[in-house]
């Protein structure tokens, strides 16, 4: 079996509300191995986005254990977490989140600035990634000059530019039409074939079907965890 990338045990997250502590996640246990393609599903308020933010080290759990490639995330300080987000994790958002005043090339190269890569190499690597997502000719365009689907491709290129071992995508097709969504999912499948571990959040079964493993969340806990093959069989 492939080595573990993510190992989660007894993970809980609660928010302080005026009516007392409100639990968003309760005792989640999950292991994801290298090379997996996981879709996390569930209705609004099921805790899947909170879970995704914790996976991406953007948010911290209230209780429980989260190990990334064997290291306990809770023991890392803010700088080490930043390094983890920079090197190990690539994050793709529903709203693309490109910086509006930068060319696509600069947007893709941005993570490399934070790990001290020289300018020439930053540009070269960004262009390589733009070729990979099929936008080589748009390197000098600004984000508002291209379509939503193209923007999401750029965001994926940015997430991949520092060669992460884990790609996290929070509703990556949520703002896209069905045709473009299929393109994006095809891209994810290609990336997964190349060995990148992918975890994506979605509430559409059609999208989730592209993943190899589907996990359903409800009321802050996992209610089902099945392989896509078993579901379709």
């Amino acid at each position: 079996m492939n080595p573990e990338v993510i190992r989660i045990e007894g993970l809980g997250k609660s928010y302080q509300a005026s009516a007392g502590a409100f639990p968003a996640l309760k005792a989640v246990k999950l292991t994801i191995r290298k090379g997996e393609f996981v879709a996390i599903m569930g209705p609004s308020g099921s805790g899947k986005s909170t879970f995704m933010n914790i996976l991406g080290c953007l948010d911290a759990p209230t209780i429980g254990r989260y190990e990334m490639e064997g290291r306990s995330v809770a023991e890392l300080d803010r700088d080490e977490l930043a390094l983890l987000r920079n090197r190990t994790i690539g994050f793709v958002f529903q709203g693309f989140n490109l910086l509006p005043r930068m060319t696509l090339r600069d947007n893709v190269a941005l993570p490399l600035i934070y790990c001290g890569v020289k300018k020439a190499e930053r540009q070269a690597r960004a262009e390589t990634l733009l070729v990979k997502v099929g936008l080589a000719d748009k390197a000098d365009s600004l984000p508002n000059q291209i379509s939503g689907g193209q923007q999401q491709r750029v965001a994926i290129a940015r997430a991949l530019v520092n060669r992460p071992s884990l790609l996290l995508a929070d509703e990556p097709t949520g703002n896209l039409d069905s045709h473009t969504s299929l393109d994006i999912m095809a891209l994810f499948e290609t990336l997964n074939h190349e060995g990148i571990t992918i975890v994506l959040v979605t509430h559409e079964p059609d999208i989730a079907r592209h993943a190899k493993r589907q996990i359903h969340f409800l009321d802050g806990g996992i209610v089902s965890d099945q392989m896509t093959e078993e579901l379709t069989a």
Partner: protein, 406 residues
């Protein structure tokens, strides 16, 4: 890394040009005002220093007292109570560098077809020492000229210009009230005195010659005034005291009897002028610094707005791996660039303003390297100081909250 950051700061500033320019304007005005005010203040200090050193340093003037005849009091110097012997006795006191009896007056001076009315100072060589007045060509007269009352003169620059034009006055003979005088030397230029009079419009002759041949005097051996120079500023109070004691003794004044002479400390007048100039230039600098402070607060204000506006961008940057110090540096750089560029423009404006002031008002201005350095240092400090809080606010943001910012 830092270079990339600089580029980003530049881009962020360019995205909101009007705001950046207006923020910069605060720094421009502040630095410009500081540089201009310091230039004017230093110019004034320099000018007053020139006047003081031209006057001579650590000087006292002794004036003969007033006479009182049947209830009518005449002005000081009218009763000739001071004598040449007094002046000589004062010269012997410890701490006294020079003591020169003076007989002042004015007369019509003639050379060839030219004539000119000028101040005539009858004195001894000690007068030139006390006033620190050099002879720039020819030579000064000596004590023996004073003893034998020779008809020699030292000529001031203005007088020389008016009588001799381009001719060299040394060795020529001019006439004062029909008596011929040989010009021994030309005095250096002193410029305007504290009272605004042209000090170079004068002629110095031996005291005895002035008294016997030019003005005449009823009481030989008496003088209207004596100029005394102390060896240093610190001992001036002691010199003043011992001089007063000596004169009271020599003039046989009883305890409690009114002195028959007046003693004036010229340096005190000059010092108060210098002090008030110094205070004025400090005040100018302080007022100008307030505008620099206001400029700094403007930067802080705009940076706070900028951080709030770009909360989401900060969240994105954090999500892709920016550390706290990366965000801090990014916003700090922006603040420092604004203040340093503003400072540079302000510097040019201040120097230009100072130059214009000198040109239009004839006020002396001095732009010293130190004032330029101070302005630059202050600008960088203001940028860092007022930029730090907003930058830190940005760097401390929680990534997930920043990302959720609308």
């Amino acid at each position: 890394m830092t270079l990339a950051m600089l580029g980003e700061a530049w881009r962020a500033m360019g995205a909101n040009k009007m705001r950046t320019i207006l923020t910069m304007l605060g720094m421009v005005i502040g630095v410009g005002a500081v540089v201009l005010m310091m230039a004017i203040g230093q110019g004034a200090q320099y000018a007053i220093g020139q006047t003081i050193s031209a006057m001579g340093s650590n000087l006292f003037v002794l004036l003969s007292g007033s006479s009182q005849t049947g209830g009518v009091r005449t002005g000081s110097g009218s009763a000739l109570t001071l004598t040449v012997a007094d002046a000589d006795a004062i010269a012997e006191l410890p701490g006294v560098q020079a003591s020169a009896p003076i007989h002042p007056g004015s007369a019509q001076v003639v050379y060839g077809p030219n004539n000119w009315n000028t101040a005539i100072i009858g004195s001894t060589p000690a007068y030139l020492d006390a006033r620190a007045w050099p002879v720039v060509s020819g030579a000064a007269f000596t004590a023996s000229d004073v003893r034998s009352a020779t008809r020699v003169a030292l000529i001031g620059q203005t007088t020389a210009q008016n009588l001799f034009g381009d001719e060299d006055p040394v060795g020529r003979t001019l006439r004062i009230r029909q008596s011929p005088f040989t010009v021994l030397g030309v005095l250096g230029s002193k410029g305007q005195g504290m009272d605004g009079r042209d000090q170079d419009d004068s002629l110095i002759i031996p005291l005895t010659t002035a008294q016997r041949n030019v003005f005449g005097t009823q009481f030989p051996g008496t003088v209207r005034m004596v100029m005394v120079q102390a060896a240093s500023q610190e001992i001036m109070p002691q010199v003043e005291k011992s001089m007063t004691e000596l004169l009271r003794q020599r003039h046989r004044l009883r305890e409690g009897q009114e002195a028959d002479f007046y003693l004036r400390n010229l340096t005190a007048v000059a010092d108060s002028a210098a002090e008030s100039t110094r205070v004025m230039s400090m005040l100018l600098g302080a007022i100008a610094s307030v505008s620099l402070l206001v400029g700094g607060i403007g930067i802080m204000n705009i940076m706070l707005v900028s951080v709030t506006e770009r909360t989401r961008e900060i969240g994105i940057r954090m999500a892709i791996g920016a550390r706290e110090r990366d965000i801090l540096l990014q916003f700090l750089l922006e603040a420092v660039i604004i203040s340093v560029v503003g400072c540079f423009i302000g510097l040019l404006l201040g120097i230009g303003g100072a130059w214009l002031t000198q040109l239009l008002t004839d006020t002396m201005v001095i732009i010293s390297g130190s004032s330029v350095l101070v302005a630059f240092g202050v600008a960088a400090t203001v940028g860092i100081f007022f930029g730090y809080y907003p930058a830190q606010k940005a760097a401390r943001l929680n990534p997930i909250e920043a990302l959720r910012y609308p």
